[in-house]
Amino acid sequence: MFQSKWTYIGAVIIAVFALAAIFAPWLAPYNPYDMRLAEQLSLPTLEHFMGQDANGVDIFSRLMHGARISLSVGVIVVLISGTIGITMGLVSGYYGGWPDTILMRLVDILMAFPGLLLAIALVSVLGPNILNVVIALTVLGWVSFARLVRGQVLSVKEREYIQAARTSGQSDARIMVVHIFPNILSPVIVQATFSVAGVIIAESSLSFLGLGAPPGTPSWGAMLSEGKQVILEAPHVSIFPGLAIMLVVMAFNFLGDGLRDRFDPKSTIN
């Protein structure tokens, strides 16, 4: 029960943020670029209940617009890197041999760069903007999908129903897509859920370091980096964007955990 309650809480938090992101242009009380320098760094009030940042912009409105960036980058990167990773994993796990060797050695090399290092390296040469962040995080992200799917394929491909499909003369592509993929889908969904959380943190980390969204963009990471400049005079600027990141990331982690338990009841026992 403990688990499933948190799963629902996660789903609800994600839904709230998704709605805020979608309807931000209509729901946000202020324009997220509307500077009021006379009101800079003002504390939360009834009109601006999260206060205003160093340019006097309403923090709540910026947060709502920031949700658009964080969530869309999260989902887009996971969709692209998931598709690439799943395809690579299916092919290399199913055929084995040299495609598998090449893939695994490539994975070894990419895994030699810890955490965000490769993304930082790529963005530093490609230039800091959202598109390059998506590219860099995709390069980083497909590896975990490929490894996961490859392992799953290896364990599934010798099963009888796959042998049966093969003997009945079905094409390799059809076997992979119709027979193998649906049977390994649940761990992939769990992985995708956790990945969205990871990508959201990664995107905001890059933006925090000045390697993501260009300055002035309402992105959560960039807001935290601006907040750090004024942390002595106006700590409130740092508090809300971080809270938003943490809530969303935690929500995706709760959801991923819950889905894993649902798909694989064995994992709850430990």
Binding site: D108, P114, L224, I245
Partner: protein
């Protein structure tokens, strides 16, 4: 064991070769002329020519690659653009600060994770276990570029207990270490719990209890020691998280380590230094992983047969 070590070393050489190749390619991925980007629009022709020659960019690419490789084998990572000093020197100067920070983070992580993990495993699904589960969810989800500022707000600004920035005595190390170590603590405490729970069902633990050993001894001497074996791997893998997290933590606290060196190099478009830092960090990570795997194979002989 020897065969295992040889196999791992061959793989290591291959991976390092790939890493160097990737890092070499970075400078060629810059859209436009790298020399223009590094020197800016106002550079005079002589400076441009000099830098082009220094970087070897006037040579065909395979020669560039060969000389880059040859340089690295001799420990030469090139010359830093602004200071004109060897990249290797600049890196080695900053490395101790990063090691200090990572060491601090690891200590923080173990201090938090060991008691939490052990208590959670002894009383699974109890109050402490459930709250430690929630705490680890928080610890994993809290971005360290938020935790850092929060700690600064609380301990440096409100309470005025600890200094904010820069390296110094132990009191300077506390906040950055907590910032960097929390996520690791969260992960470790759950690992220790799961691993200990599994071991507690083993026959040798029942045996130790049956022969009348005090519970304390059973847990600490018989169960925990075995439970920590898989935890070694996690600690090794977490060094990567620390290396990468240190970049952000150093940016928050103006910590003069490798991470801030890398970021400064990126901001000033000092690409030889960027390449050097990335190569260095990746190499450290690969070596630590190798060491972890070898240790693991040494404590648990089953691994070698894989």
């Amino acid at each position: 064991m020897l065969l295992y070590i040889i196999r791992r070393l061959l793989l290591l050489i291959f991976v390092l070769f790939g890493v160097v190749t990737l890092v070499f390619m970075l400078i060629h991925m810059i859209p436009g002329d790298p020399v223009d980007i590094m020197l800016g629009d106002h550079a005079i022709a002589a400076d441009r020519k000099l830098l082009t020659e220094n970087l070897g960019l006037n040579q065909p690419i395979h020669l560039q690659y060969a000389s880059y490789m040859a340089g690295i084998l001799r420990g030469n990572l090139g010359i830093s653009i602004h200071s004109k000093r060897p990249v290797t020197d600049e890196i080695l100067e900053r490395f101790p600060a990063s090691v200090e920070l990572m060491f601090g983070a690891m200590v923080v992580a173990l201090i938090m994770a060991l008691p939490l993990g052990i208590i959670s495993a002894l009383k699974p699904y109890g109050i402490i276990d459930n709250s430690s589960m929630l705490i680890s969810f928080l610890g994993i989800s809290i971005p360290n570029f938020w935790l850092g500022p929060l700690l600064i707000i609380l301990f440096s600004i409100q309470l005025d207990w600890l200094p904010i920035n820069e390296r110094g005595g132990i009191e300077h190390l506390i906040l950055p270490s907590i910032t960097l170590g929390t996520a690791m603590a969260a992960m470790l405490s759950r690992m220790i719990r799961a691993s200990l729970l599994e071991v507690l069902n083993e026959e040798y633990v029942r045996n130790a209890r049956a022969k009348g050993l005090p519970e304390r001894k059973v847990i600490l001497k018989h169960a925990l020691r075995n439970a920590l074996i898989p935890v070694i791997t996690i600690i090794g893998l977490q060094v990567g998280v620390l290396l990468s997290g240190a970049i952000i933590t150093e940016a928050i606290f103006d910590w003069p380590g490798l991470g801030s060196l890398l970021l400064d190099a990126i901001y000033s478009r000092n690409y030889p230094l960027v390449q050097g830092c990335i190569l260095f960090i990746a190499t450290i990570y690969v070596l630590v992983n190798l060491l972890t795997d070898l240790t693991y194979a040494w404590v648990d002989p089953r691994v070698r047969l894989e």
